[in-house]
Chain length 448, copies 2
């Protein structure tokens, strides 16, 4: 059996590995237009920050390691067409020669691309996206070679904030420009405000409800033009968002779903037999939405890739679904979220009550103790926790995992309030902030 994978990052390489492990007689080929494979895209901001010196460290396994396993990888190869009826794909090799590749099973793991609106002045130098290692290498080279003073980051999502940390570490004067009335769109405005306050207190300029119209400069970018004025800059990072690379699939008659991501079931099957999709190009079943969602993240890509690789090679796996758990750090501020935000609850017509508490993330007397704000959203009738967010200092955010477990398994505030969570002064106050939040919610709900 010949299994062909399009894309060589998280989902693609997870799929290829699993397919080969299932049966070493399987022919497994991977086609990717990139030069790097099997790299941790989420590590890119830390490479720009220079916490990671060598981009090679982001690579989990090399082409040679995969080759030893018997997986053939074709980098610099662009797949231009899928012909499901003939079970083959058209590929352009490095020399732009057309080649045809047959498959028994095809796995599409083409990932996502940075959204780049057609803005005036986009062709000026020193305007970058941060989707690939190649992007990151260009940015870092500039930071090392040029004497940049100012940077503008367009978009205040996770990547935008991670780039705030990265560029601040190079001692640039950083301005964050966001179209929406709040930063970090997937947490609630009150929680995002805590992060914004922190950024401002650390010298970051935050400009919200401001629309970028274009860029000005001679050869290199010098000004970002917005609907509110001009911002002088030496460097622009576009971190507006990502979109699934699903055109190839669409042209082959593969059905797309939410946000134009490739529609898959829990076995990662598309609507066309023997064609699977996984990772940032595909939808994922959301266990709280009880519907498909498009939330591209590294964890999901790895898990979906493994499921696709298993099923394509005769195994039988199901992707268990997501609850929208995510975590990030910007400088010394941590942010975790899971389940529904207020906005998502409203979208689903769920009636929820909110409870928010502040408590130290370590014992109050332990050095470096800083507060964590924990917010939980509770279903009005069942008292099940349907969403949670944590914002705070060191060791605050990974606590979201207990709440993610609660959301995924349908635990009520009473259930969580009863948990025997760990305590020692370097790790937690005697009442863990998660327990405080659940206890406050339980106290109020039980008295009503």
């Amino acid at each position: 059996m010949k299994i062909v994978v399009i894309g060589g990052v998280a989902a693609g390489m997870s799929a290829a590995s699993k397919a080969k492990r299932n049966n070493s007689k399987n022919e497994v080929e991977v086609y990717t237009q990139e030069e790097y494979i099997s790299y941790a895209a989420c590590g890119i901001p830390y490479f720009v920050e220079d916490l990671i010196k060598d981009s090679g460290h982001l690579v989990a396994r090399t082409i040679e390691q995969f080759a030893k396993q018997g997986i053939k990888i074709f980098t610099g190869h662009t797949v231009t067409q899928i012909i499901p009826e003939e079970k083959k794909i058209k590929v352009l090799d490095r020399e732009q020669n057309k080649i045809w590749v047959d498959y028994d099973k095809l796995i599409i793991a083409t990932g996502a691309s940075a959204v780049v609106p057609p803005l005036e002045g986009l062709n000026l130098k020193n305007i970058f996206t941060v989707k690939s290692i190649t992007d990151a290498e260009k940015i870092k080279k500039k930071l090392q070679e040029e004497n940049f003073k100012k940077a503008v980051i367009v978009g205040a999502g996770y990547i935008g904030l991670e780039m705030v940390e990265a560029l601040s570490s190079w001692e640039l004067d950083v301005t964050l420009v966001e179209l929406a009335p709040q930063i970090i769109g997937n947490i609630d405005a009150d929680m995002a405000q805590l992060v914004e306050n922190y950024l401002i207190s650390n010298g970051i300029k935050v400009r919200k409800e401001e629309k970028v119209l274009g860029f000005k400069g001679i050869e290199t970018v010098q000004f970002v033009k917005t609907d509110k004025g001009e911002i002088e800059t030496d460097l622009v990072i576009l971190a507006i968002g990502v979109k699934p690379n699903s055109e190839l699939a669409k042209e082959a008659g593969i059905q797309l779903g939410v946000k134009n991501a490739i529609k898959v079931n829990n076995r990662m099957e598309t609507n066309i037999t023997d064609i699977y999709a996984a990772g940032d190009c595909a939808t994922a079943y959301h266990l709280v939405y009880k519907d498909e969602a498009y939330i591209p993240l590294g964890t999901t890509a790895n898990k979906q890739g493994r499921v696709a690789g298993d099923n394509a090679s005769g195994g039988n796996s199901e992707f268990p679904g997501i609850v929208g758990t995510a975590i990030m750090k910007v400088m010394e501020m941590e942010i975790g979220r899971t389940g529904l935000s207020e906005r998502e609850a409203k979208m689903l017509n769920k009636e929820v009550q909110e409870f928010k508490i502040e408590a130290p993330a370590k014992a109050h007397f332990y050095p470096g103790a800083r507060n964590a704000t924990v917010k939980i959203l509770v279903d009005n009738k069942s008292h099940v926790i349907v969403g949670a967010q944590i914002v705070g200092g060191a060791q605050a955010a990974k606590r979201i995992d207990v709440l993610a477990t609660a959301v995924q398994t349908g635990m009520t505030v009473n259930d969580v309030a009863k948990l025997d969570l760990s305590y020692a002064p370097p790790f937690s106050p005697v009442w863990d902030p998660v327990l405080v939040a659940a206890n406050v919610a339980a106290g109020k709900l039980n008295n009503n």
Copy 2:
């Protein structure tokens, strides 16, 4: 209604506070033989280490703050007798005057004491236990004033290991002596060995299966005598274990349970009407044992105290029980555990399978990433996770909370393998070590 509390630390002050909050008309009096109240006993090793300069910082709330709330606290008062038939207690005040105090409801929160076997030479100077702030102040004063070079810690449980960190930070040559064949008795031998290796690599001398027979010296301790020889030392810390302070209760006819702790139900009621017990002097219901246990910890004390205070003042609470979750740190090594250890599984005649994995606690490329070893014990038939242990570097151990949640709610390895846990390079590899452990277990169990 008059509620009298014996003991002024975690359980006692939680009980007193809750009783007063329930109804401000309640008379609430606290009698304690100590001078300090409402302090974090778990913080004591960090005070000795001098991470916390002032013992006052360990105090959560002062006598004056409680007084404002209307709670009367009598420090330096020793309760010598409980007479349930007359609903009164006999107290010796500071001047050793006998006074009688009536109660409507009595809450016993007398805590635990360090176990001190009747060893030869115990009266020598510089031999200490570390149970109270007063103990800790004496030790720290000595460390500041004397030029100690060597210390012996007897007992390699949590307190013993925390004192290893504390005394190492004073640059003492530390020897840890343990009677048992392994350190940290409440985790499995293979996991304890990882910690032992770490200690040894950090210059700590670890002597196992060695019985301390007594102490030698002129005025001050100079040698620890064991069944294997003599160890030269300037300072001895006895951290052999603790025993519940339950004599007062026993003499009053109150029933004791496991390990002579005061037997309580989930409402914290003893066998005598209107007498409650909570915290380190009392038993706790263990949700995996499905039986009472004696595992004195700060979290349990706070929770039980609140329940006792609530029920004593007309409320209606139940202590939800424990699963034996605990966490600690020694230098840069973290240890977490929950549910059953191998030994406990054997004791309960539970047939379990063990799965152990090693994975980085942060992304492998992120600075400071160190490995976490995760071990889970899985019920042979149901595949429910009945116990888990984590040993590793920074950010490893607090992950035990997800596994504690799993143990407490009866999740199988498949359930845990499906969790949507958080990922970002500063916090986790893309497959969280908890997921790796569950996936490995699920893979092996599902194929059988």
